[in-house]
């Protein structure tokens, strides 16, 4: 705490720290190891225990954030941090409007990576890493790793295969996974902190091999599970993004390191 600069303190007071965070429920995700979708054959990713929001950040949550941080209102945000679609479903800077769902309980979308990151910081947390997100998303309502279950996959796929129009469902809709987290599948895509660690050219047939022209050696040596179509969809989505892009079906939730005690 000693290290906090004056700027941070000012902000701290401004934000009353956690008006957003107070109502927030988080669940602990016990750490573990899994094999990433894109990587070498025997690559394992280790995920340390962490804490993840039970729900995606809602329009109502986000309204609080922009109320306290004028720089993130849609008329104020520098273009480098968010493209023209930023909060485009909102009627005005501080009016989320009908497309934000009943009481603003739909997940906030049309937010850039910068915006999502700023929100998480404001609420005393951070965006989950790609590995953390993927790890938590392997869980069904009954087991921590259901990715091998054909039915589980099919359910995920069914959502990906249907177009969604605003307003989106409430963040509390959907199944609760074994950790207590809802909506990782079946609601919206979600930003992760290192989404730009996905090195796909968009030309998936090239990506399946090694493309030295574009990437350093060892970039994308095949994929762990070619039949996990849902994972391909997620990675393709991430690969298509830029940090300033705001997209209608793309929201986020925040995470924290597990507190040391």
């Amino acid at each position: 705490m000693k290290l906090l600069s004056a700027g941070w303190l000012i902000l701290g007071t401004l934000s009353a720290f956690g008006a957003g965070a107070a109502s927030r429920e988080m669940s602990e995700i016990p750490g573990g190891v899994y094999r990433p979708q894109y990587g070498t054959k025997d690559e394992q990713v280790e995920v340390e225990s962490f804490v993840l929001d039970n729900y995606a950040v809602t329009n109502a949550d986000y309204l609080e954030f922009v109320t306290e941080n004028p720089r993130w209102r849609k008329s104020q945000t520098p273009q480098i941090f968010a493209d023209a679609a930023y909060l485009k479903h909102w009627i005005a800077d501080l009016d989320p409007g009908p497309d934000s769902g009943p009481e603003g309980m739909s997940p906030v979308t049309n937010v850039s990576w910068f915006a999502a990151r700023a929100y998480c910081r404001w609420s005393g947390s951070r965006l989950p890493t790609l590995a953390e997100w993927e790890f938590a998303a392997r869980a069904s309502e009954s087991k921590p790793d259901a990715i091998g279950d054909v039915d589980f996959r099919q359910r995920i796929l069914d959502w990906y295969a249907k177009p969604a129009k605003p307003p989106l469902p409430k963040v509390t809709d959907g199944f609760i996974n074994v950790y207590g987290v809802t909506g990782l599948h079946g609601l919206v895509w979600e930003w992760v902190s290192d989404w730009n660690s996905v090195l796909l050219t968009g030309e998936s047939r090239v990506d399946a091999g090694l493309e030295r022209q574009l990437f350093c050696a060892g970039a994308s040596a095949g994929s762990a599970d070619p039949s996990d179509y849902a994972a391909f969809l997620r990675f393709a989505m991430r690969a298509s993004l830029q940090a300033d892009y705001a997209v209608g079906n793309l929201g986020f939730r925040c995470a924290k390191d597990r507190s040391p005690n």
Partner: protein, 470 residues
């Protein structure tokens, strides 16, 4: 910044793929026009100009629910709102400025690989676009021919299986011989979780796609897209040209028109011309151009001559030729069924979709119930009826189920909530009402009762109907 980068990419793309020719092309290109795009079976008008120009193509990707067969819906991913995607027509030597727009309501990113493009990825790398964005890239139409375009975003198979393909025609400088009618026909195979004929919104089945086990094989995106009122038309004495494509994703088409012989086939849509062809192969991701003169009136049936696809999965279309009979060419009774050794039911009634069939006996009921269970129950009760501990009760060897069949019917009819005990375990959760027909409920429950060590028996639609009225 974004715009300048896009343009840079487009430039790079051009620069790397057309090191020498690009410059000479650029010199000849005069003026600018917007491409006319058409939905199948229409083909854009003939290009009459004699010079190269800059052609702007604007294609919007829409993910939308459409009909794949009567009563069966499917979420198509489309280039321009339809399957197949819009037909694009340019002329050899044209400079094409391509705008790929991904509609904001769409869920996933898309791109486009045009087989008419000479360059890495056929444009895919330069057009990878998330929802709510647009990519621009340019290419020179170097080689004349008819080319497939498709989405190449991972998982490619799924994007294509959902309908992301179409045709682009690059007319040669001297053009193809003139014909009276031009049509656009494109085959595709579809993989639905439910079986062929299962009604309601169907989703993509990756299992079946991997096994190449298509539920539907269709021309122009749906069963019946080219039959009945939608049949292709021509008059006796006219020349007809079909631009035939095959989007796949898996199946190769044995394209045939029953009762016609193709006078000329541009094999694989290349320069080689084959004459007097009965059936021509159209590879997945390939095309063919077939020309023929229609000499006699009648209905001519377009099929994939891998014939179960035609008569059981939908790969069937019609060309209706009107005009005076020409007995010198064909002197039999004027009855198209004579060409149809398979038996006329499907062909003579221009019925767009097979009606959902009814089970004739218990064995069929169980079989049809199996499919419907997969579509409607498996998400919760699991493939082997084992359920999920603590959340969804088992249907396998379920004392609750076997004790009272009427109660089970009520459960499926109206849903169930509140605490129940199944095989000694308490469950307190909600099963929604699924809105299924009497027939379907009867089939599913008969299947369930005769599976996984349950007590057997049969539920009839009449029994369900009685419970429904209560």
């Amino acid at each position: 910044m974004r715009v300048s980068i896009l343009i840079t990419i487009a430039w790079l793309f051009l620069a790397t793929m057309l090191p020498a020719t690009h410059v000479s092309h650029a010199a000849e290109v005069k003026g600018e026009e917007h491409a006319v795009l058409t939905a199948a079976p229409s083909v854009p008008p003939l290009i009459t100009r004699k010079h190269s120009t800059k052609v702007i193509v604007e294609l919007e990707v829409r993910e939308r629910v459409g009909t794949i067969a009567e009563g069966v819906e499917y979420t198509f991913w489309t280039f321009g709102g339809t399957v197949p995607g819009r037909f694009i027509r340019v002329r050899e030597g044209d400079q094409v400025e391509f705008h790929l727009k991904n509609h904001p309501d769409n869920k996933v990113p898309h791109n486009i690989d045009l087989h008419a493009v000479t360059g890495p990825g056929g444009g895919a790398t330069s057009s990878f676009t998330p929802p709510g964005h647009e990519s621009i890239f340019s290419f020179a139409a170097l080689n004349p021919g008819l080319y497939v375009y498709h989405c190449a975003t991972a998982p490619v198979g799924m994007h294509i299986a959902n309908g992301m393909y179409g045709l682009i025609l690059v007319d040669s400088k001297k053009g193809l011989p003139k014909v009276d009618r031009e049509y656009y026909v494109m085959q595709g195979d579809f993989y639905t979780v439910g079986s062929n004929g299962d009604t309601g919104l169907q989703t993509f089945s990756m299992e079946k796609a991997l096994r190449e086990d298509a539920e539907y094989v269709v021309f122009n995106g749906s069963v019946g897209a080219l039959t009945g009122d939608h049949a292709l038309q021509a008059e006796v004495g006219e020349t007809v040209r079909l631009y035939v494509g095959n989007g796949g994703p898996n199946l190769v088409s044995s394209f045939h028109v029953i009762g016609e012989i193709f006078d000329e086939v541009r094999i694989e849509a290349g320069d080689a011309i084959n004459r007097n062809v009965q059936t021509t192969l159209v590879p997945a991701g390939g095309a063919a151009i077939v020309d023929f003169k229609v000499d006699v009136p009648g209905t001519f049936i377009l099929v994939d001559h891998s014939i179960f696809r035609a008569f059981n999965k939908g790969a069937l279309g019609m060309l209706k030729v009107t005009g005076k009979p020409n007995t010198a060419v064909y002197s039999g009774q004027q009855d198209q069924r004579i060409y149809l050794p398979e038996g006329g039911a499907v062909q003579t009634t221009p019925e767009p979709a097979p009606k959902p069939k009814l089970a004739a006996n218990k064995a069929e009921r169980i079989e049809m119930g199996r499919g419907a269970y997969q579509t409607n129950c498996v998400a919760c009760h699991q493939a082997d009826g084992q359920g999920i501990a603590g959340a969804f009760p088992p249907l396998a060897k379920s004392d609750y189920l076997n004790a009272d069949v009427n109660r089970a019917i009520d459960t499926v009819l109206s849903g169930l909530q509140g605490e129940i005990t199944v095989n000694g375990e308490p469950y307190n959760n909600v099963m929604p009402s699924l809105g299924l027909s009497d027939e379907k409920i009867a089939n599913i429950l008969t299947y369930v009762l005769n599976s996984w060590d349950n007590d057997g028996g049969e539920v009839s639609p009449a029994q369900v109907s009685k419970r429904r009225k209560k």
